[in-house]
Amino acid sequence: MEAFVREKTKSTPGITLDPQQHHLEIKGESYPENSANFYSPMLEWLDNYLQQLNDTPVQVDIELIYFNSSSSKVFMNFFDMLEDTAQRGVPVTVNWKYHEDNDTALECGEEFQEDMEHVAFHLVPLEDGA
């Protein structure tokens, strides 16, 4: 399986989903005009990748400075897919990284965390200026 990579733009994050290292990373901002369209290839890739996992641990690093409401729906689906995978025994760790002074990013992370039972979902503060 090939890695899924998207370069960061002003309104879309950098995405690196690496099936060899079992490391998924999303970093930047997300407010595309049509979030469902933009992310559908990523969710399709993720679905294929997660399905073929047995018990290999997966690490997910997310650092979103800002995302709009339609992206929020996409990320909910993203985390639901991870939760389903963790539920069938694959160890999944999510690090939700946020800047200490970005209350909104922390709050959004907490709200995703509330819905996770099997995913190890960590809120990771980054020091100011990091």
Binding site: E33, A36, N68, S70, S72, M76, D101, N102, T104
Partner: protein, 180 residues
């Protein structure tokens, strides 16, 4: 020629930082958004307030892009540009954003119902409603997730204000004001 200078001074006197009227596109949103952040950052606005203003600005502009009933004539399958008006100002140390666009008569009732409902909610109720709506399938023909106004109400410091004004051409004009 003189009118434009009066117009400019009037805007400044009212504390308006940005005003825009015309066709709205994603690239315009990105450009104004970056400048807005730069301006707030120069004024040493807190990260928290900057994020809230930016978030509300994006949701409002994308509402115009997705739902305004006033479109430019599109030729050869190019996506339509939709029109609206938006101002960002500061009064008594608080940012506010007002946004307006024409809507079709069929949009009126569901919009009014949604906003009335949101206006009556406190922050906890808004959070619950947001998470509940996020789980729902998007409405037919909707380009967004139907979460924009709930998101704005959650980031605002006061309840959203809105008006729907009947127009002579059969359309209606929708205005919303958000105070951060």
């Amino acid at each position: 020629m003189r009118e434009i200078q009066h117009f400019y001074e009037q805007l400044k006197k009212e504390g308006i930082i940005f005003s825009f009227s015309g066709p709205v596109s994603q690239s315009l949103l990105e450009g104004i958004g970056a400048t807005l952040r730069q301006k707030m950052s120069l004024e040493e606005t807190s990260t928290d307030v900057m994020q809230k203003v930016f978030s509300i600005f994006v949701e409002l502009m994308q509402n115009v892009i997705n739902y305004s009933a006033e479109k430019g004539a599109a030729e050869t399958g190019e996506a339509d540009l939709r029109f609206g008006v938006l101002i960002i100002g500061k009064r008594d140390e608080q940012f506010y954003i007002q946004c307006g666009n024409y809507i079709s008569p069929s949009q009126q009732a569901p919009l009014r119902e949604k906003l009335n409902r949101i206006q009556g909610m406190d922050k906890n109720e808004l959070k619950r409603y947001y998470k509940e709506q996020r789980r729902k399938e998007a409405a037919d023909g909707s380009k967004g997730a139907g979460l924009g106004f709930i998101e704005m109400a959650r980031r605002a410091t006061q309840p959203l204000e809105f008006e729907i004004l009947p127009m002579q051409n059969g359309n209606e004009f929708f205005v919303v004001k958000v105070i951060i």
